[in-house]
Symmetry: C2
Subunit: 112 residues, 2 copies
Amino acid sequence: MADVDVFAALASPTRRQLLGLLLDQGARPVQELAEHFDMRRPSLSEHLRVLKDAGLVVERRAGRQRLYSLRPEPLRELSEWLTPYERFWREKLSNLRDLLDAEGDQMDGDPR
Amino acid sequence: MADVDVFAALASPTRRQLLGLLLDQGARPVQELAEHFDMRRPSLSEHLRVLKDAGLVVERRAGRQRLYSLRPEPLRELSEWLTPYERFWREKLSNLRDLLDAEGDQMDGDPR
DNA sequence: TTGACCGGTAGGCAATCGCCTACCTATCAT
DNA sequence: ATGATAGGTAGGCGATTGCCTACCGGTCAA
């Protein structure tokens, strides 16, 4: 378990697509996942290992297959990271911020 | 403009910390940002360029300084990507999904 | 038991990353 | 005009990434 950062795990479009497949289709064996990619199976295995190390998927053995399924909990970290940024686009405050910035302000006073 | 993927831009802890600084403190010159990192200034410049290429910061010149400020709009893409996953942890449906998966189902319907 | 199948691991290789030092241009102060 | 300051760019270098082929062990079917 290499304890992979969830942000780093999501940096790859292939890995995001894997999560999307698992979200839409539920647990799936490696072979079936591989059909969706123009890539050899061992490469997919490596992507799946990164996702597993990040806690984003779990593996369950079923005969000679290994079923991977989504484990969305680590995405909570992403959501929480995003929270303080959200109001800036939801409330369209970017322009206000630009104005504030233009005056060379500090924000909540701790000028070093 | 190398048109950088926002997910890739966020993969680096240094770049996330830069965004956090700009969020808390508003526009800042490079030098002041650099004080928060154990890294030479040119490396920071490279990180800032990645953020700029991803549209996450904007640069404004002020004398011989360049003030970088947050541009959170691209984070909306992240938020939208996250949306379909959210209900799985918010409604604690992971266990239900595990049960469904265990039967090797497809999941086209909307199990709610 | 033997062969086919599922999928992980090993190792090679080119490309990219992330840091560095050295250097360059632009601006400001004297 | 000269020197100091802000910060981007060039290029080197080791580490990492992402793909590949080859191989290996475990499971199932005949």
